[in-house]
């Protein structure tokens, strides 16, 4: 492996050569290629997706811990693409089996059901599907995980039932991963999770629609009173109490479905539905599916335990035919537009961060245009207003959501290269992990090069020493006389990755790309540029 992972700062013997190179902007500057070819990202299909290695989904970046170990990613830890993520048991269960959940508890649980948060320490090591399958296989009670997510090193999900929570707690320590390490499960009561209100609303809509559809098929008149006794409907006590109100409110949720909903003439949208008899299929509120067979398939996918429909034996449920769940496009790697631009940008970044990290930032004066602008922002986190670890940045943060006074807005925007470099010089000392960079070149014309860079860096001194930050930086540059990029706009965004996330457990292997054989990143290093 040429990648010196696990290398913390090995600057002792490299110090001299690095310092030499950091002394001056451009002393080791190679002749930057002519960038007057107006290439935009779309023009060159072959280089459009600069995969730079694996086109794994960007959610691999969540588990930075795994990424920075020198070990291969364990076989059970296959993060896959966003498509796979969408189809995890949690998501599927939630979207497709609302009735099953209510049946399993045999209880009338409204939104006031008892919720529990389940935590698997170091759960971030495990693939969601694998973990949930393992837990389910050991758990005496079938359960539905809600809102599975990773936070820091842990995996979390919610369950809506005390007996399930208890059962899960019982298997703690009695399940093992593939390294024969015990997996613990912690359980604690939770307030109704915030997502429940929104999620359940859409569930309600689904249930209403499908409940009505059942009736529609059998041509019965909808009597709103009958909703009270429909087992699908009774899942939510509040819906049972106030079905008309709920329906009216719920129908507001999904705009895209609105086009398919027909309103009865006599209903007043503002007041909600009248609690009268409604005729399904006629004027009544109903959703329309394209044909009956897809109706049945749709219903069965959502209610697999429904055995009878219109007096027929239910056909085996087939996949597909549901309302389309739109998928997110796969996340891809850096976008350069062309090999030329790629070299140009990578050289620039290496130079820039060489000086920024190891040299005197005053040297960067030569990298900026006389009339350049710079600003930096740190997000406002309502849960952590102190932002204590980012205070050095927070002082200069020009978040227009928080900074309102015009004079202050002007003041925080650094203008002229002198002011900019003075500003940069007082920001904390850093070490950027060039292997973590994702680059998007937005625009490249004769006069302008615009690109953004995101990745992580580490603070190397002061009270935040060792803390890892995520950053996104936008550079807009014009060609200088020697056609090297001259920065006219520079915007830096910094966000914390959390004290437990990467900082304490891992050291960023500092790839040292500053050897004389560089201009571009080596093959191995390119593989480390994440998607």
């Amino acid at each position: 492996r040429s990648l010196p992972s696990g290398h913390t700062m090995r600057h002792d013997h490299q110090d001299n050569s690095v310092k030499r190179r950091a002394r001056c902007w451009g002393i080791y500057r190679r002749r930057f290629p002519n960038w007057s070819e107006p290439v935009s990202p779309s023009m060159d299909p072959s280089s459009r997706q600069q995969q730079d290695g694996d086109a794994a989904a960007s959610d691999t970046r969540v588990d930075s811990g795994v990424r920075y170990t020198p070990y291969a990613i364990p076989p059970y830890h296959q993060r896959g693409t966003f498509h796979k993520q969408d189809q995890t048991p949690a998501n599927m269960e939630r979207e497709q089996k609302p009735l099953e959940r209510s049946m399993e508890g045999h209880r009338l649980q409204g939104t006031s059901g008892s919720w529990f948060k389940i935590t698997v320490p170091f759960g971030i090591k495990y693939d969601e599907k694998w973990l949930l399958n393992l837990i389910q296989s050991q758990c005496s009670v079938p359960f539905t995980p809600f809102e599975f997510h990773y936070k820091k090193m842990q995996a979390h999900f919610f369950v809506e039932n005390a007996s399930i929570a208890f059962a899960l707690k019982n298997i703690s320590g009695n399940i093992w991963d593939q390294d024969n390490e015990r997996i613990s499960i912690f359980v604690k009561p939770s307030d109704v999770p915030h997502f429940v209100h929104k999620e359940l609303k859409s569930e309600k809509v689904q249930q209403i629609k499908l409940t009505m559809k059942k009736r529609d098929d059998s041509q019965e008149a909808l009597d709103i009173q009958r909703f009270h006794f429909d087992p699908d409907f009774m899942r939510h006590a509040d819906m049972a109490a106030n079905p008309s109100k709920c329906m009216a409110a719920s129908l507001g949720i999904h705009e895209e479905n609105m086009t398919k909903v027909e309103y009865a003439g006599e209903m007043d949208k503002e007041k909600g539905l009248e609690p009268q008899q409604m005729r399904a299929g006629g004027n009544a509120l109903c959703t329309t599916f394209s044909d009956k067979s897809s109706n049945i398939n749709s219903i069965l996918e959502l209610f697999p335990k429904l055995l009878r429909l219109d007096g027929q034996e239910s056909p085996r449920p087939t996949l597909g035919g549901t309302e389309a769940h739109k998928k997110l496009p796969t996340c891809k790697g850096s976008v350069f537009g062309s090999e030329t631009v790629k070299n140009l940008v990578l050289q620039f970044l290496q130079q820039y961060y060489l000086i920024y990290d190891y040299g005197d930032r005053q040297v960067l004066l030569d990298a900026y245009h006389e009339g350049a602008c710079f600003s930096l922002t740190v997000p406002f986190n309502p849960e952590d207003p102190a932002l204590s670890t980012l205070c050095e940045y927070f002082k200069e943060s020009r978040n227009l959501k928080k900074v309102k006074a015009p004079y202050l807005r002007r003041q925080l925007l650094k203008h002229t290269k002198r002011d900019i470099v003075d500003s940069l010089s007082v920001l904390p000392k850093t070490q950027h992990d060039l292997s973590s960079l994702t680059v998007d070149v937005w625009l490249q014309t004769e006069r302008m090069l615009c690109f953004s860079v995101s990745g992580v860096f580490k603070e190397v001194e002061g009270k935040s020493q060792g803390c890892v930050r995520a950053f996104t930086r936008i550079f807009i540059a014009v060609p200088a006389s020697n056609s090297s990029p001259c920065i006219i706009n520079d915007e830096l965004f910094v966000q914390d990755t959390g004290p437990q996330g990467i900082c304490s457990t891992f050291s960023i292997p500092m790839v040292t790309p500053y050897s004389s054989s560089m201009p571009a990143l080596s093959q191995e290093q390119q593989k480390m540029v994440p998607s």
């Binding site: 245009h369 959501k401 615009c450």
Partner: protein
């Protein structure tokens, strides 16, 4: 000095444009997605998590295909772009960040940046997107 007066004005103008624009953009993105393409120049390019989308038709298809969204913007910044790059076509760099929940998917942190160019009519200035770069940012703690 004329230059610095000009600069102050352009900063103020940029801030106004950015705030107005961002409110509109995410409102439309979340609630009237079909209208979103109108905010883009014909030759605009979108880079969405590394996927390059150019042209009105491709953009329309792309936005149509994206699940419905709920954006929460926590950060906004902007800068006037130096005229040397833009041939006196007034341009503003707008940067946002926050969280987004696409239906059927978990919440993500995101960073998004735009280059807006002014299209002035005698009555008012319309800002259009020349460039749009969007990335999930999953380094941060949730």
């Amino acid at each position: 000095m004329a230059a610095s007066v000009g600069f102050k004005t352009s900063v103020d103008q940029a801030c106004r444009a950015a705030e107005e624009f961002v409110n509109i953009y995410y409102e439309i993105m979340d609630k009237r997605r079909r209208s979103l393409t109108r905010l883009y120049l014909d030759k605009a390019a979108l880079i969405w998590n590394g996927n390059v989308v150019t042209g009105p038709e491709a953009l329309t298809n792309f936005f149509e295909m994206l699940p419905s969204s709920e954006f929460q913007v926590n950060m906004l910044d902007c800068q006037p772009v130096h005229e040397q790059a833009t041939q006196s076509q007034t341009t503003v760099l707008v940067v946002t960040s926050g969280t987004v929940k696409f239906e059927g998917n978990r919440k993500h942190y995101f960073n998004q940046s735009f280059l807006l160019t002014a299209q002035s009519t005698p009555d008012h200035t319309v800002w259009k997107i020349a460039s749009d770069c969007f990335r999930f940012q999953d380094w941060a703690t949730s």
